[in-house]
Amino acid sequence: MPLLELRKISKNFGAIRALDEVDLHIEPGQVLGLMGDNGAGKSTMVKIMAGNFPPTSGSIVLNDQEVHFHRPVEARQKGVEVVYQDLALCDNLTAAANVFLGRELKRRFGPLRILDYSAMFARAGKLFGELKSETRPRDLVRQMSGGQRQAVAIARARLTDSRIVLMDEPTAAISVRQVAEVLDLIRRLRDQNIAVLLISHRMPDVFAVADRVMVMRRGRTVADKNIVDSSPEEVTGLITGAIEAA
């Protein structure tokens, strides 16, 4: 039984049809690689799953139940976490503050409930440790490298018992060593039975970790198959349109 299913999802932006009756399904513990040229509609798809905006038509089914997300928090409450392409970080806050943004830990202070700095630093430090990242909880995000920023965004997605993590181009702007770290992390998520949707332009990344690959072109699905039944050459052809569909 699929964990998350999109059925005939379409999305119009004015005259632009960004998604045209797209179907997608993903199982627990599965890594689905989503590929396609710029403007194919990948980010739009992620944003619909994450509750940023509703689809123009079609339905979203999570655990056999149809869901309607009106805001990103609602998707998050149902266990759908996102690592955004632009990472959605506040540069002026610390790494820990970003990890806990919108769900701060608090402690009692007389009659008040105040931010629990030490608990958040400790928990964020532990998450960075698990990601084998050198990111320090107290550092400001403004001073961080691309890879450290990535770790902050991923740590955020790991904060709760998420069931599916959507990653939009997580390896686009980071160093080679850090790409390997991110791929390791994806494997670790999969081992914990979490579903991962990985959007990437990098063929080697997708073929290294994905179980399935789905290719989109101009808002439509042109292929959806097991990674072992495909090849980088075929996927490249599908992306460019040299191969019509597979």
Binding site: L87, C90, N92, G102, L115, R138, S175, V176
Partner: protein, 338 residues
Amino acid sequence: MAQDVETQASVAIEDVLQRKEATWWQGLLSSQPFWVTVAVLAIAVTMGFVNSNFLSTGNFFNITRNFSFIAVMAVGMTTVIITGGIDLSVGSILGMVAMVSAVTISNGFPMEVAVAAGILTSLAVGFVNGVLIAYVRLNPFIVTLGMLSIARSLTLVLTGATPVTLRRVGEEADRFRNLLAGDPFGVAMPVWVLIALTAIVAFLLRYSAWGRYVYAIGGNEQAARLNGVPVDQVKVSVYMLSGLTAGFSGLLVLAWAGSALSNFGQTWELRVIASTVIGGANLMGGVGSAYGGVIGAALIEVIRNSLLLAGVNTFWQGTFVGLFILFAVLLERVRSRG
């Protein structure tokens, strides 16, 4: 491939640049409020040597009271500026609140009613600002510029530009003045209000989720929204707080002056904004502190007072204050590069 070489290089650079964790004194030395505090103390000590009047009890009392009127508003303004907004209407709100309360008292209502009327007026104006900015998504500069004009005009409409005095209008007016213009333990009431307000807002900014959200909105509003921060509500709240602090100042100025004039607070918004900027707030949002706004206001007042005592033509005051604003912004620029 070329890209891979580039990213390899960035690995090496990261390994070299192993930054150490900043110590607390490094944090202090890179904080603008700290340096402004040093400047205020340096000027005060110098003036104390040069002019014996400066540190006299009377002058100290005057300085602290005068700057409190501005500093109280700077505390509210700081929260607005941290979110990346601006509130140009605070001077007009001050004038309106002073007038509303004066009219209420002089019409025989108890002082509690007058204070409540003033406070509610300030909150209502702040609420309108906030809703237009957060929900109607209008530009904060434009909204509060409009409100600057509207609130001032309504103040004039209320009384036809005639001053409303609190002198010899009855017991309630005297009670109002004794309380808000008093000096418990030898410190002017506005200073007590300022201390309490600064402590509360500084605490909230640091220890409440609300405070965290204020900074997050100024840092990256879109990110805050995506993470479930109630951006619109928080924005309304900071404009209401800014209005409220202007209302506090309005009541304090009214009690001190003993009557309400329709031009109370005119152009004060500029001094309030200047105070917050000198105290380290960044008009782009994301940076600032309650104490910074207060110490910025203190610096402006100390400069004004020093020039006055030194016998410098008062026309020069604006130049000095302006130079300090530019200096503060340059300092900010240098630090953010460093």
